[in-house]
């Protein structure tokens, strides 16, 4: 995985901020000087920490009614984002920040307009890496996992022309797909449906929980179905890149392990600093050749991890289905999972956070 050392605090200028559809917005940014040089080295999957603490709220009638209560909270910490696109030029680097308006920080971002400044700490963490000898790259996106995968898609097309790239995109509903376009009643097949990827020559298949676009069901089920249909397909020559909610990443990792496919997952954790000092963003990882696990830091050791190393949070429904003992045995739950917590959650009939 790739890490560059020229991280710092840089100011970018907003060149546009617009709503693309539903709750999804995108900000175009421009870095100059040292920031342009630092972000020219940005690797897909790396992230930035954005300071939004100085931004005010939009007028109340511009805030979705279900966010009015939550958005009143003040912001202290920076917020992590992964860029959806980065283009390095001779003296400036542009970047696209795709975001979903869902809380007090993102609602404040909607107030930015052309000419405004934003402070970025970055580039941070380790991005995706492209192992040699891969002829097929499968991109797996769940909802707001789209930005780093889009950034990677562009790099793959530009620098690995011999690699065939196909995207599998999942969301709860057609409205929850974080791309520009019209997705309602889209067919199940793999085709040039998602304009942002089609422009790069990358076909995609969509899956939604309610069937409002593409396949009805989980994106990982759609991926498994597609793999089953392939002839002359080599696991060795394939790599999966995934970003999305943790249960989706866990299912992707399981599928990759069953079929012996290399898989990189981009993890997400609540974090304060993003630079390895606050130790908040613990990701439980296996220690090779032992039953022990350690906590690695999402910000510094990740956010992109080899899927074989990560011990995923067990989705409650998995535990419910197979029982905790089997979930642990099959690597679906951590051996150190707090059993009481899981059982308590089951009793209350909750869904695992995602």
């Amino acid at each position: 995985m790739v890490n560059n050392k020229s991280k710092g605090v840089f100011t970018a200028t907003v060149t546009s901020n617009r709503r693309i559809r539903e709750c999804f917005w995108t900000i175009d940014l421009e870095f100059t000087g040292a920031g342009a040089a630092a972000f020219a080295e940005f690797q897909p999957g790396q992230f930035v920490q954005v300071d939004v603490s100085h931004l005010g709220l939009p007028a109340e009638d511009l805030i979705a009614p279900d966010l009015r209560d939550a958005s009143r909270r003040n912001i202290l910490l920076r917020r992590p984002f992964s860029f959806a696109d980065v283009t390095a030029g001779p003296d400036r680097t542009t970047a696209e920040l795709l975001y979903c308006v869902l809380g007090p920080a993102s609602v404040r971002l909607t107030t930015l307009s052309r000419g405004d400044s934003l402070s970025f700490l970055g580039p941070l963490g380790n991005g995706f890496s492209v192992p040699p000898g891969k002829r097929l790259a499968l991109l797996v996106v769940g909802g707001m996992g789209a930005p780093p995968i889009r950034c990677l898609a562009k790099l793959l097309k530009a620098e690995y022309p011999g690699t065939n790239v196909i995207a599998f995109i999942g969301a709860k509903t057609a409205q929850a797909l974080p791309f520009e376009g019209q997705f309602e009643e889209m067919p199940e097949r793999v085709d040039s449906f998602v304009p942002a990827l089609a422009r790069l020559g990358i076909p995609s298949a969509v899956a939604t929980d309610d069937g409002s676009a593409g396949y009805r069901g989980f994106v990982t089920e759609r991926l498994a179905q597609w793999l089953d249909e392939q002839r002359n397909w080599s696991a060795e020559g394939t790599v999966i890149y995934a970003c999305g909610p943790e249960p989706m990443l866990a299912a992707t990792a399981k599928l990759a392990a069953q079929r012996n496919i290399d898989c990189q997952v981009s993890m997400e954790r609540r974090m304060a600093c993003g630079i390895g000092v606050c130790q908040s963003c613990a990701v439980e990882c296996r220690v090779e050749g032992s039953n022990e696990t350690v906590y690695k830091l999402c910000c510094q050791d990740g956010p992109v991890f080899d899927s074989r190393t990560v011990v995923f949070d067990p989705p409650i429904q998995v535990v419910e289905e197979v029982g905790l003992a089997r979930a642990i045995k099959e690597g679906l739950a951590s051996p150190t999972v707090d059993e009481a917590r899981i059982l308590e959650a089951l009793e209350h009939g909750e869904e695992e956070r995602s």
């Binding site: 050392k5 991280k7 710092g8 605090v9 300071d51 603490s53 909270r73 003040n74 912001i75 202290l76 910490l77 920076r78 700490l121 954790r269 609540r270 974090m271 304060a272 600093c273 630079i275 390895g276 000092v277 606050c278 130790q279 908040s280 963003c281 613990a282 990701v283 439980e284 696990t293 350690v294 906590y295 150190t336 707090d338 917590r341 959650a345 209350h348 909750e350 956070r353």
Partner: protein, 312 residues
């Protein structure tokens, strides 16, 4: 980097001359040079490492933090590499730093604290120790030592013997009946500095699931929200214990700007530590140093010591 100093912002801290009164707070700046990409660590008045325990600790499961209005809760659980790896991997880095380094020490039993301090007290690179008897996020040890004056005495005097001629600061928990009683116990047992305050035990609830947000259920509240309480407690301990005993206070709790730091100095702190603010602006500590100097110029404070405890 070095600037011409128009005023003397150096301070005496338990017999050690510090170039300025600004430290990094334990657990917010790593073991040594982690923030070197963002600031010249050697410009600091002092550096305090994250907590070291005798054995390595994995720490708590995630989520370990949650933001609140004007603050954050953390429940890291004293995750650290343990004494052995600290000596092997981190001490050489510390030895290259020119700033006085204090090692924050935590443990479950008094013997654990003593073992860590005994091993490190002969290291030239280490100026002193900060005794963490106020961590709210561990099942054993931590804050349970810091609430009872008899236990504070016992642990402080045991560590004092192990610390030799090094500075020993005891870091106090804020949520106690009378913090001066605890401060006095530490001073009587041989502490030659006091760090206050540590975080407040607190909780944030996810109202959708009716569960605490943190995996540890509770965490320590830090950030601007705690600052006025910290200023009050520093002033109280300065007046009731530290001033008479001639013991310096390291004030911390929600310091984000030079003005915040100056409040602590006026309240009676001889030095200050910057914690949560470094998460947002990694070079906060050096900005605060510059701000303190500018304040002294503006207010004709010739020596920073004149500011300490100058509350009218």
């Amino acid at each position: 980097m070095a600037k011409k100093r128009e005023v003397d912002i150096s301070v005496d801290f338990a017999g050690r001359r510090l170039a300025n009164p600004v430290f990094t707070a334990s657990g917010t700046c790593g073991y040594g040079d982690e923030l070197a990409d963002f600031m010249d660590v050697n410009r600091l008045g002092g550096f305090i490492t994250k907590s070291i325990t005798l054995q390595p600790r994995k720490g708590n499961p995630a989520p370990r933090i949650v933001e609140t209005d004007a603050g954050m809760l953390n429940a890291i659980g004293l995750a650290n590499v343990g004494l052995e790896r600290f000596v092997a991997e981190k001490l050489p880095v510390i030895a290259r730093m020119s700033v006085p380094v204090f090692v924050n020490v935590a443990g479950e039993r008094i013997d654990d604290y003593v073992a860590v301090v005994e091993r490190l007290a002969s290291e030239k690179a280490i100026a002193g120790f900060e005794l963490n008897i106020s961590c709210p996020n561990v099942a054993k040890g931590g804050i349970s030592f810091g609430r009872d004056p008899e236990q504070v005495k016992e642990i402080t005097s045991a560590v004092r013997k192990a610390a030799g001629d090094r500075i020993l600061s005891v870091k106090l928990a804020p949520a106690v009946t009378d913090i001066s009683v605890i401060a006095r116990a530490a001073v009587e047992a041989g502490a030659n500095a006091l760090s206050l305050i540590n975080t407040f035990t607190a909780m944030v609830i996810d109202i959708e699931t009716r569960r605490p947000v943190l995996a540890n259920r509770t965490g320590g509240l830090s950030g601007p929200a705690v600052k006025p309480i910290a200023v009050y407690l520093v002033n109280k301990v300065y007046n009731e214990v530290a001033k008479k005993a001639g013991i310096p206070i390291l004030g911390l709790g929600g310091i984000r700007t030079a003005s915040d730091a100056i409040e602590f100095l006026i309240a009676g702190a001889s030095a200050v530590a910057v914690g949560t603010a470094s998460f947002i602006q990694p070079d906060s500590a050096v900005r605060i140093i510059d701000g303190i100097e500018a304040y002294c110029v503006r207010h004709n404070v010739a020596r920073l010591a004149d500011l300490v405890g100058s509350l009218a």
